[in-house]
Amino acid sequence: MRGFIDKKRFKGFLKDGMSIAVGGFLTNGTPEKLIDLVVESNVKNLTIICNDGGYEDKGVGKLIVNNQVKKLIASHIGTNPYVGQLMAENKLEVELVPQGTLAERLRSFGAGLGGVLTPTGLDTIVEIGKKIVEVQGKKYLLEEPLGADMALIGGAIADNYGNLQYSQTMRNFNPVMATAAELVIVEPYRMKEELHPEHIITPYPFVDYILVGEDDE
């Protein structure tokens, strides 16, 4: 970990056109404060990678409603009607990815792999434009690695070293996203002085910065 940062410093990392992976599942485990700061910054043309489109007033939905997103890569968008509306108006590009494939594409990137072979999506429109590879007599789709410029991580119990544990179901996509971005920023759900080494899910070298402080501007 490089250190603790305040809101102002975080905003300094944000740029138009960047790709951001956001943890959470239907906003459970989503770093809402970090998203609010991205909304305040009003950076545009973002590519957002998230399990879902959140809700209109919660999660990555807030960025979409604020028209900051050019492309959304997600497995499910049914909870945010605004996503469907923008899609229909051709104002938002949406790439729907099966949930397990989304997780493995992120893992591939984070683990330095050239992609993943999965049977999911075979014989459906998901296979269009993808290579089909036969291994041990079975067919698989080649799904390519997916990484981001920045990952926003939530639901974490962080220690002073930057190690992370996650609270209950807030874990979901957070650990894999912490491996798949150039810059990994954590909004801790709670801080702890030191986590037990056997309990750590995301070790500190994956983490760049942890957001701290309330009124520092």
């Binding site: 906003t27 997780a103 014989d123 874990r171």
Partner: protein, 214 residues
Amino acid sequence: MMNEKEIIAKRIALELKDGDLVNLGIGIPTLVADYVPAEKKVTFQAENGIIGLGPLTDEDTNIVNAGGVKATILPGGAFIDSLTSFTFIRGGHIDITVLGALEVDQEGSMASWIIPGKKVPGMGGAMDLVTGAKKVIIALTHTNKGKSKILKKCSLPLTASHQANLIVTEMAVMSVEEDGLHLLEIHPDYSIEDVAKATEADLIINNVESMKGI
């Protein structure tokens, strides 16, 4: 009297066996858990990251189910990340998945995630579930505004091809076999003719029983 959804859920609950690891989809499938007797040891998985999903709760907690609703974890349960969750799902470690669908056909193909030009909710975890679970049970009402949802061939974009094993509606229980779609059971309120009329798919009709557990 039970409504259509309750009939479907109650019948499907009989398919869950002691020791099974089960993933229930959103909608009718979620109701299945209500009909599993306490003495039957069934473990529910939620793809957002729970092994041992318990009932819903009003308590303030960070635990949600795959529909984003506040839920509980049972003793012996575990919280897992999305990678581990889909290792369970895709890797063949889930015994049964119960999922809703817009259409299902006699070859076991099903459609559930997109109505082009109208509604695009996305596939979520459904494509991985139907691909990886050992047994796929489709829970759906037999017709939509009089139009059969049990088809010769799905017309909507597929969630998966040839993966459904058992189809349960408020009218009937049907099983997808190599030689086609077998009508196994019918609800006592309906005749075989009623079911055949409400079904676009070709039904193989041999020994039809009354719907179990109803």
